[in-house]
Amino acid sequence: MTGGAGSLVARCLGHAKPNIARNTKLVFRFRSIGLLVLLCLVTVTFFTDPSLAEVPYRNYSYDFFGNAVPAPQAYLPSKVITGADLSVGEFSDPQDLHVSRDGQIFIADAGNNRLVWLDSDWKPVRVLSEFDNNGTADRLRAPEGVFVADDGSVYVADTGNSRIVQFDKNGEFVRVIGPPEADTEGIIPQGFVYQPIKVAVDPANRIYVVSRNSYEGLTVFNADGRFSGFVGAPRVTPSAADLFWYRIATQEQRQRMSLFLPTQFSNLTVDSKGFVFVVESGPADDDSIRRLNPAGEDVLIRKGFHPPKGDLVASSDQASRFVDIHVDNAGVYRVLDHFRGRVFAYDRNGWLLYVFGVRGELKGSFRDPVAVDMLGEDVLVLDRGQRQIVVFSPTDYARAINAALALYNSGLYDQSAEMWRVVLCYNSNYDLAYSGIGRAVLRQGDLEAALRYYRLGQDRIGYSEAFKQYRREVGLANLGQAFTLVIGVLFLTIVASKLGLVRKAGEVIASARKSIANRLDFVIVDSQGNRTPVGRALAAVGDIVSNLRYSLYTAIHPFDGFYEVRHGKKGSVASAVVILALMTLTYVIMRQYTGFVFNTRDLARLNVYTELASVLIPFSLWCAVNWALTTLMDGKGRLRDIFISSAFALVPMILINIPLTVLTNFMVAEDASYYYAISALAVIWTGSLLLIGNMIIHEYSVGKTGFTAVLTLVGMAFVLFLGVLFVSLVNTMVGFVRSLYIEIIFR
């Protein structure tokens, strides 16, 4: 087999050895290449359960447009481990699971008031429950969190005793870190109840604690155990609307409002660089996952198509609810969604890598997942409901993704591109792989391939980058200059027209047309000298064409132009309708043919009817409301005049946006300023035409024009509101009739 991708897959996927009699392995096994030696745990205690290999859900990923796109399974459950399997007795209400850097496993078994400590082969090392606290017998009570610092110290959130207990790496008691003490500075608010549920320790041995029902953020203790303050409290930034409502609310309402507190944290962890990752409890939003620097500021990178928030859903009652987070050394973080029982993995730039897990009753599903962690390449999920740990092993597909990321992070871009190609063999929907390959081929200088890959990967920034080089190569070095050139040509044309060149040319054409028309006279005029139907149609078309030409004149000479319209000499309803149609068409063309870099719409879902509505509804509202208002305010314009003048005012939008759409295909992201400036020009031009038109046809002063324009806008909003109200009323009616029908039929 020849060809890029194909041969690669053959190399990477088909490591089958020829002689099966020699009992060799024959599978589509992806072998991790030398650079990526992952810790592989082989234990004899637990056998892979082959019946777990099927899961009742599909992996997916969100594409640029927010659609969930199917993907191959990334992680599959391979083992299910209960307390009985570990011969430590069944867990009871286990709350947290933590794997230390050297692979030891800790389970905070709250119901049994103990901490289960296992080595990396799942062999019990010790069970911590009672300990000697400087001479007095002490014990853990309902511990809900556990963390192992880099030096091997074990920190337990001893929730029932409202304290943190530290043990050394041999399980010997070190110290107790009690609740933060009241201070004079008043950092600790009134009524603060300290209930530590999760704990993490950074490389500087600062201790971060999540306290239940605390809205102050993380409680931080210094290395010596002294309370140092709160950090990471989500700042409340009231919106303008909030402030507005607050102003007009009564005292009682204000008090109720103050109950809308910022959400609290549910869990935290520390990454290899010492930054604290926190997740908020409650429905996830754009910044529910935060990476806090030592100053408590969020420095999480959100460069993916969507911010890392789990499932992309319309309403917050469907949103993910994160309960735990784990960050691996490569900066890939995995968050556990308790709501649907899914683990979402994001790379350090915030790209969604894969999703796995489900809540349910079937094998390998969770009933009440509470904690996620990693052991080597396996992902462990603690299921409180079934009192067990589900071990997920990566499939070859996930291994390839992980390897590609690792290679990329080590700066081996070409190798990572090769690995991305493997990923694509498994999943041709994987956008990240396309942009990964695009990046590599761009480095190699294959611009056209890079453009193709970036386009497939919906990577507009990469595409723009590649296109910039491509443009340079094909000679359009500076579009800005090109654009200046276009303006220059336009200018020259205008000058030429002033000089009468165009008119002269026009006369020549006109005379030629006349002579043709004379010869074809019989088609237009019958023997009696009356117009034939063809003639009438031609005349109508001619009328429209001349009116359209006049609309161009109006665009440049609005005062004269609209005056003529007002007095019924120029402009016709038919030509206005044609302009509206052209406007709709312009919108369609803009949506469909705007260059990739600037076009963020899903073309497969483009619909002319919605575009039509988006032109017609505001336009007709404007006309109707304006007419209604000006009738009351001594406006001289008739509805026809308003209609025609408003339509003529749209001409610049058409004139500018169509060439602009063509131009966007040659623009890169840096040219965005031109793009927006020109679009703004179209809007301003149209807006002023609208105002001037209004002023002329109604014979208003400037001030009154402005006033009526504002009133018209308010009126439009009002009509829209009534419309929405009406629609919802109709909906309610329909719902009522429907339910009546159902009741009659089925009951």
């Binding site: 991708a5 009699a21 199917p70 041709s428």
Partner: protein, 988 residues
């Protein structure tokens, strides 16, 4: 209610006694079969029946094993359990508590077994045996004459005897608000009891007078004082007797209470009391609960029935007693057929209650109480009926109390549930999957493996049974339950859904999006039922396995033999290697905006010429036994048009090229099949009229749509929605398809008829559905005649089978069938997408390749496509485990062309990437395992954790190790996630 035992049975009983005395030594039968009667036997089996509980037992003569319908240790007594709907709720009844307890069953011997007709639901309450009103004449004739005087006296003490008598110039007391004169005219109510007592008193007084006249002897003295006392007593009694006003009020109140048309005393008309005019009549006085039981007993011993009570009540203008409307007459037959026990429930003979209009009865209409059953109405006089939702047959048959053994259910490729579970775990699987026509597809169910074979079994120690559902299987759920706590038995049985229901939300609101969690709001809803129940038979065949055969392998091989015998299946000829199934996807639909209007356009993924090139490449690799399925070839591609004509998708090529592909395949020795779906069609392919004609409407009367779901939100994806074609249209559809298709002379790959069955819950009964449901006697014939109630799933299966038969006979070549449901097996040339995995229910202990053992050596088969498997390694190991074939889905264009379409789930199908590795894998497997294709699997076992050994009838075994580490068994080491082929039994 009679239990007839013909003399023939008694003879058999005698024979049995002899037999038991001879064979008794073998197995202590006498104790196990104590109290049971032999009802049938043949050379292998003997069927026993306990006539008091209708429990059955089967004696396997060769081994002396006894199989009980209700294992004595279990304490479970019922043989059938039903569920019926009442409004939004479901109620349950069983044949012990609701039929046998009332003696409402009838045993009829059959030549090879026995039939029991149960009436579930107590027909008459005890109170229905006591008439509230009965004329003196009828009382004497029907009751008193049949009792001895003492009993008669006792009975009469609970009644008062009254009469309407004309009394001239009577001064009637007043009753406020009631015009008594209008009602009674010049009649009035007299108590005959009082008159009798007064007469008696007179008599006594006379006697006393005569005694007074006699001399004062001691004897006379004594009699006198006795008599005086009696007179005093009687006088006291008479004084306590109700006065005339009381009598009137009492009578009128009774009339008011017992007539639906009388609401107030003032509504009573003269005709209401007409029957009592000059007619001495008994009125029931009422009694305490315990006494009342005595009264009931007296009436029953006199042979007085509730039907008599109805007559008496109607004759006297009283409301007649109503039979309990919640009764169901259900027959069950047990037959011995060779070595098997066959259980049959003829659902067409199930009788429902039906109503006779009350007005009709009250208007003096004669009630016919015999052949048509009994009149039914509820206490309001309204018509009622209760849909029979489901019936569970022999729930406890062969239930195991031992811990050694397992339950087998056909989930996916087959699943074992060990008996040593400590908690009750129950698992329910639907044969042929859920019926999308009646399941609300909006609720996302967790995706589970299909159930392809209608079989289940149970192994306990060294014996086992295998049950094959021969008829009605498409309606069956197989339910397994393990013992735990106080529940001592492990059992597995089938439950049949006779009437489906759907809960219809009255208001539309947010739908619960997630399975397993309860998020949805509780919205007002109504429960609607299908308009009729299944009318075919339910037939379950129980086979008994012993010793070596008592295992899942034995069950599978027994089923295999059963299929071979029943359908004349032949083993594959040896020679060809392992099958390689290559599905090439022709065209798909893509949405493209054309001038802003989104249009669906066909996009060729693999043109005919590409297919030819890939075919040649496959054949060049030296693969033998290649089966190419070319799907998406019909106009429209994968979402193709309604297949009532053959119209090639023109972006793929022309008919000539297709013929070229066919000839090329023939020359190269590959089989070519064109993939077509018949049961569903994409929603864009049916116009308004098409929907009206072809689309199945659900119980809620909306067209049924089946769709894929969005993996993120778990809601149905509109762009994948497909209409379900009415089974009744299928025949014509396939006919017109075959008319054209025949001429292409290639094989047909059937995408859906071997994997899905959809019913048609046609609710055309109209708005008066409930009336239609109950107004007439609910019989099979009536239902069939009216054509009402659409096509049930059993009929749908038969229709599909008829199509498959037709396809085979018209095309002359057996089709490739996807899925491989049991009914399709006789018509399948080869099978692809057969179940290889299990669903992973919590109760599951072990997945076994039951399906594979059944079909291996009979068909070329393969599981789901390898390149879309969740875990390719496991999928490959699974097909190696039973030497199954390989299957793969390929497209000539890279699968990135499908990005953003509704076929994005085909994310790894590019032939450039996948053909080569698949061919290589195939080549290597085929060289080692190819010769096992035509062998029969004789054993399969787990020899170490996650290590399985499959033995073939040529003595070779495959050992597969699923672990991620090597495993050594004896001298043999198998690498991690690998396999070995070994000769003979090296392992022993």
């Amino acid at each position: 209610m009679s239990r007839s035992i013909p003399p023939r049975l008694l003879v058999i009983l005698l024979l049995l006694v002899c037999f038991v005395s001879v064979a008794g030594a073998a197995g202590g039968l006498s104790s196990e079969l104590e109290g049971m009667t032999l009802v049938a036997e043949n050379e292998y089996l003997a069927l026993y029946l306990d006539e008091s509980t209708t429990a059955i037992a089967v004696l396997h003569k060769l081994t002396g094993e006894v199989w009980h319908s209700n294992p004595p240790e279990s304490g479970k007594k019922e043989q059938i359990q039903i569920a019926y709907g009442d409004g939004d709720r479901t109620f349950y009844m069983n044949n012990i508590d609701d039929s046998v307890a009332y003696g409402q069953y009838e045993i009829t011997p059959l030549s090879d077994g026995v039939r029991i007709d149960y009436t579930l639901g107590q027909m008459w309450a005890d109170r229905d045996y006591i008439p509230d009103i009965i004329s003196k004449k009828r009382m004497e004739e029907k009751v008193l004459s049949k009792l001895d005087p003492e009993q008669a006296a006792e009975l009469l003490s609970y009644f008062s005897l009254v009469e309407l008598r004309r009394i001239e110039g009577h001064n009637r007391p007043k009753l406020s608000g009631v015009n008594l004169d209008a009602i009674f005219g010049d009649y009035t109510v007299v108590s005959l009891d009082k008159e009798r007592m007064e007469a008696e008193l007179e008599e006594m007084k006379l006697k006393l007078q005569s005694l007074e006249a006699q001399p004062d002897t001691e004897e006379v003295e004594r009699r006198r004082s006795e008599l005086t006392k009696l007179i005093a007593d009687l006088e006291r009694s008479i004084s306590k007797m109700p006065g005339e006003l009381d009598l009137i009020r009492d009578l009128l109140t009774r009339i008011k209470d017992s007539r639906p048309d009388v609401e107030l005393l003032s509504d009573i008309k003269p005709e209401h009391v007409e029957a009592l005019r000059d007619n001495p009549t008994y009125l029931y006085k009422g009694a305490s609960r315990w006494r009342e039981a005595d009264v009931v007993r007296l009436f029953r011993s006199a042979g007085y029935t509730p039907e008599d009570k109805q007559r008496d009540h109607i004759a006297n203008g009283f409301h007649p007693p109503a039979i309990n409307p919640k009764i169901f007459k259900i027959p069950v037959e047990y037959h011995l057929d060779g070595e098997d026990l066959v259980v049959r429930v003829p659902c067409g003979e199930i009788e429902y209650p039906y109503e006779t209009p009350v007005d009709f009865l009250m208007a003096g209409g004669d009630i016919v109480l015999n052949e048509n059953g009994l009149p039914v109405y509820d206490e309001n006089g309204a018509t009622v009926s209760y849909p029979l939702l489901s019936i569970r047959v022999l729930e406890h048959f062969g239930g195991a109390v031992n811990q050694d053994g397992y339950i087998f259910i056909p989930d996916g490729s087959g699943v074992l549930i060990n008996l040593d579970s400590k908690t009750v775990k129950s698992t329910r699987v639907s044969v042929y999957g859920k019926d999308a026509s009646v399941v609300n597809t909006q609720t996302v169910e967790t995706r589970v493996e299909p159930v392809r074979l209608p079989v289940f079994g149970l192994k306990e120690e060294n014996r086992a049974f295998l049950a094959i559902i021969e008829q009605g299987e498409a309606l069956a759920d197989i339910v397994a339950k393990t013992a735990g706590g106080r529940d001592l038995v492990n059992e597995v049985s089938a439950e049949f859904r006779l009437v489906n229901k759907q809960v219809i939300a009255v208001q539309q609101g947010p739908k619960p999006p997630i399975s397993g969690t309860r998020l949805g709001h509780v919205l007002p809803s109504v429960t609607a039922y299908e308009s009729r129940h299944y009318l075919g038979d339910i037939v379950i065949r129980y086979s008994f396995l012993h010793g070596d055969q008592a295992s899942y392998v034995g069950m599978a091989r027994h089923y295999r033999t059963y299929l071979m015998d029943k359908y004349g299946l032949k083993p594959l000829e040896p020679g060809a290697g392992l099958p390689l199934f290559v599905e090439l996807v022709g065209a798909v639909e893509k949405v493209k905006p054309v001038l802003g209007v989104p249009m669906s356009v066909a996009y060729p993924m693999t043109t005919i010429d590409h297919a030819r090139a890939i075919l040649e490449q496959v054949m060049q690799s030296g693969a033998t036994n290649v089966k190419i399925e070319y799907s998406g070839w019909l106009e429209g591609g994968l979402n193709h048009i309604l297949p009532n004509r053959v119209s090639l998708e023109d972006t793929l090529g022309n008919m000539k090229q297709l013929a070229g592909l066919r000839d090329r395949a023939r020359d190269l020795g590959a089989e070519l099949y064109l993939g077509t779906s018949f049961l569903t069609v994409h929603r864009d392919r049916l116009g308004y009229q098409g929907v009206a004609r072809y689309a199945v409407r659900g119980i809620d009367r909306n067209p049924v749509l089946v769709s894929d779901y969005d993996p993120g939100t778990l809601l149905a994806r509109e762009d994948t929605a497909r209409y379900v074609i009415k089974p009744s249209e299928l025949d014509e559809l396939v006919d017109s398809f075959l008319r054209d298709f025949r001429n292409i002379e290639v094989g047909l790959a059937i995408e859906d008829m071997g994997s899905d069955v959809y019913s048609d819950p046609d609710q055309r009964a109209g708005l008066d559905q409930i009336t239609a449901f109950t107004a007439q006697k609910y019989t099979a014939e009536r239902m069939r005649e009216s054509g009402r109630g659409g096509t049930d799933r059993g009929q749908a299966t038969q229709i599909i089978v008829a199509q498959l038969q037709k396809i085979v006979s018209e095309l002359g070549v057996k089709p490739l069938i996807r899925g491989g449901n049991a009914y399709a097996l006789p018509y399948a040339g080869c099978l692809v997408d057969v179940p290889m995995a299990s669903s992973g229910y919590p109760a599951e202990s072990e997945r076994v390749p039951f399906y594979q053992i059944v079909v291996h050596g009979l068909y070329d088969y393969a599981g789901p496509p390898l390149n879309l498997a969740q875990d390719m390694e496991t999928a490959l190991l699974r097909s190696i485990e039973t030497a199954a074939g390989l299957s793969v889905v390929l497209t000539h264009s890279p699968s990135s062309d499908l990005k953003g379409t509704s076929f994005a789930h085909l994310y790894s199908t590019g032939y450039e990437e996948w053909l080569d590795p698949v061919l290589r894998a195939y080549e290597q497997l085929n060289s080692v395992l190819g010769h096992l294709r035509s062998c029969e699997i004789v054993n399969h076992e787990k020899i170490a954790p996650s290590v399985y050994m499959t033995t073939f009838d040529n003595g070779q075994s495959i050992v597969v190790n699923y672990n991620d580490h090597p495993v050594s068994i004896g001298e043999i080491t198998v690498d991690a996630e690998s396999f070995r082929l070994i000769e003979e039994a090296h392992l022993q």
